[in-house]
Symmetry: C2
Subunit: 490 residues, 2 copies
């Protein structure tokens, strides 16, 4: 999941279309008689059983990035196939070079909708910071209500189940779905989605629908649902600096031998200048300046940076000088160190001069920044900083450009109204700082628009210890999808 | 073990004393009739059994720095006590707040000698680079002769057993030892020796002898034994930078939140200037310039830096500009990164913005550098570089000044002659780049001189994967000690 709770109210003027209009390739069924209210009532009554189903899925430790959990990813895919078969979908597990995809089709009448989610989860380290076994999920009472605690609760198993449960409720009440629904789940979202593009290319016909729905994002505020309309891109790089051919004794070689940990530190320190700008050559090519309209809209949001940072024990924006906090999060590119390691990292002390030093570094991209060009320039910059007797190896971890949704597609407005019916506050069109490459792929490969709607919250601790998903997010998420299916199928 | 194979031929003029002189507190026994030759013959004949005993000790994984191996350190101490009791020593395990000491006394006539060694070993990671289980040692045939392969083979179990086996041989042949011998083994040498000084202070009377013997160093060359006369000091520091109070999602917070891994990289990068000099304020206070005599002596050694570095796949000295390779290793202080870690370090990728970043950093000290003053200045420098919203914590890992032996003690010259009788080339007085704080402690706490003699080799890979000890080092080491005991007891 890549979630963006503090996203901007989008400045694009909204266009409203008539409920009777035909939009895109969606054929409007004038004979539909199914009603929404009993579906919502069924969801309310079935909540305990829906929760049990989610807990079952959460018990499968489907960590995609760690090869040790390969079998568990497979098990999670099997679980989804079985669950979808049980509610009448034509579902199957589809092999890839990595973890399998799950594809399912309902067939039937109405517009063709393709729902996307991912069944893989983030690693759980540092394990000692969890209050419980990450894969022994539980419902907990907290000061802010009941939560489902466990790895994947919010990212993305809880969210994808909101859609499946909405379909289950429609089927239970009416025996059929209001639309022709396909589901598409991947198991590599948390590890760069290496199989995604080839699979979409090879199965383009099967996966193409009228519009894509994605549930891997968050609410805008506690009671304000959101539809994401722009996302940052993501470029991941792993570098390994090698000096001596083995770990050396720092008494014997210290002072004369090159230390790759020092070389790595120097490289990382050089990636930002004193103003917090990224120093990779030509990095800012294609980065747009904030328009006056957007700047005015963001100023009107009265974003409380102190409160946002205070939640994680920080107090001051630490990004580029001269940029507002919202720009830092939403519209400026970044370069972050996600991990570094070298030498002895255990308890106590070891006077070793390490042979190798490693870093995982990622860039968030905006506007027209070209991830491939940036990768090349980054590698050349690093290569130029590596001294004699050191060698550098690069390993790429995915590269996706920023993306921008077509909010003029009429489904956007209908979904926004449906969400506004469910929640206390009207739904907002927002942009955000994270990356969901799939949204761009739907456009580029399948020529489909994608609508990103999710129910996560700020404090869900996704990618962190003690991840949770509010039971209210799960419940109102199901109800929201039931409403959206109704609205965009009419 | 801290070993210094490429150490300097010491420039101090050598003084030769008569064999009949009384030196220090050593009372010369004129009635001694025991002969050396049958002792050496016994060592030769007993080599297979001596090797078996060493392998038994090497099978105990006494890694002192890792709390998981606490029980194994205890087992290694028990093993030594049992072995020493079996050859007539009054031996006992002595508790400390950390791992136990082993102290043993032979009693009897002759000068009182205290032998020191350590039974603890370095950690074994990265384990995947070992060709065999580090704690399933084995004799291997190599192109350079037979070696004992396993963690601790050279550092220091193999070396300390050379002395015990020499004692065993004297006892077997003559029923007694040529001197009044005490043994003192610690189990925390590889983890900063936290219990050593208090134990020496509390047991000063029991441990004080006429001279200390230490076997934890190396040969000067393939066939040239060495007595170490000067050592660098060692200061270890661990720093932890904390930013946000938990790991964050780099899409949600990247660009606005402080990243402690970047802060750490900046600090490490700032520890050396462009000329390779260390930037800690006042760091070079007490660092002596090389005397003309010593500079001339070193130039005469024709040290082959290319060959020395070539063994570990390096080609150029990477230390302070304007310093010779030998200065870099022997007479200049250093600052090295021994370990760094932060964020996600597993397989694959995790777009985390880490909460914490850690480094283990050590300094080798020379001349009159004050480790405590340097620790304070280092901490202040780091503290000053830590930005708003980050916090730094320090953990000290031992602090010892450089030390200088009193080579005018007559035992030095007798030992040098005894070593020269055993080896193809005469023994050399050498200095070195590592640190053996115990040598300074013997002087400071017990007012004893210490003589450091060892039989390790350049390629023993101590502190690295695939550590070994040449069978010839083990064999000739035992014979050397048998000769030294004879020589300094006459």
């Amino acid at each position: 999941m890549r979630r963006y709770p503090h996203a901007e109210l989008h400045a694009r003027p909204l266009t409203f279309v008539s409920n009777t209009a035909t939009f895109g390739r969606i054929r409007i069924e004038s004979t539909r008689t199914m009603t929404l209210d009993p579906v919502l009532a069924h969801i309310d009554a079935d909540l305990p059983r829906a929760t049990e189903r989610l807990l079952e899925l959460l018990r499968i430790p489907s960590i995609s990035t760690d090869p040790a959990y390969k079998g568990d990813c497979d098990t999670a895919a099997d679980w989804l196939v079985a669950d979808l078969l049980s509610i009448g979908f034509n579902a199957s597990k589809r092999p890839t070079r990595g973890h399998p995809m799950v594809v399912a089709h309902s067939g039937g009448e109405g517009p063709h909708l393709l729902f996307y989610g991912h069944y893989d989860v983030q690693p759980v380290d540092p394990l000692n910071l969890w209050d419980r076994d990450p894969f022994d999920p539980q419902i907990e009472d907290t000061d802010n209500g009941r939560v489902i605690r466990g790895r994947g609760a919010a990212d993305d198993k809880g969210q994808l189940m909101t859609f499946i449960e909405a379909c289950r409720a429609w089927k239970s009440v009416h025996g059929t779905l209001p639309a022709n629904i396909s589901l598409f789940f991947e198991g590599e979202e948390e590890s760069g989605s290496p199989s995604l593009v080839p699979f979409m290319q090879e199965n383009a016909k099967e996966l193409t629908a009228d519009i894509a729905l994605i549930c891997d994002t968050g609410l805008y505020g506690e009671n304000t649902p959101a539809i994401i309309t722009q996302l940052r891109g993501l470029l991941g790089e792993e570098i390994t600096i090698t000096g001596p051919d083995k770990d050396l004794h720092s008494g014997m070689y210290g002072g004369i031998a090159m230390n790759p940990a020092r070389v790595l530190a120097k490289i990382i320190a050089a990636l930002h200048d004193d103003d917090g700008r990224i120093t990779v050559p030509d990095f800012y090519n294609g980065v747009p300046e904030l328009s006056n309209d957007l700047a005015a809209a963001w100023a009107n949001l009265h974003f409380d940076a102190k409160a946002f940072l205070g939640k994680v024990d920080l107090s001051e924006p630490a990004g580029e000088k001269g940029r507002s906090p919202l720009e830092m999060i939403w519209s400026r590119p970044t370069c972050e160190v996600n991990g570094i390691w070298s030498g002895y990292t255990g308890d106590g002390f070891k006077t070793v001069l390490p042979s190798r030093a490693h870093a995982k570094i990622s860039f968030r991209l905006v506007g027209q920044q070209d991830p491939h060009e940036i990768r090349n320039n980054f590698r050349k910059m690093v290569q130029d900083m590596v001294p004699v007797d050191c060698d550098v190896q690069f390993h790429g971890h995915g590269a996706s450009a920023a993306s921008q949704m077509t909010t003029t597609h009429p489904a956007f407005d209908r979904a926004r109204k449906a969400l506004s019916d469910e929640w206390p506050h009207p739904a907002a069109y927002v942009g955000a700082g994270g990356s969901i490459p799939i949204a761009g792929h739907f456009k580029d490969i399948l020529n489909m628009d994608a609508m990103l709607i999710g129910f996560g919250k700020d404090d869900d601790a996704i990618h962190s210890p003690n991840e949770k998903y509010d039971l209210s997010s799960f419940h109102k998420g199901m109800r929201s999808w039931a409403r959206i299916l109704d609205a965009i199928s009419k």
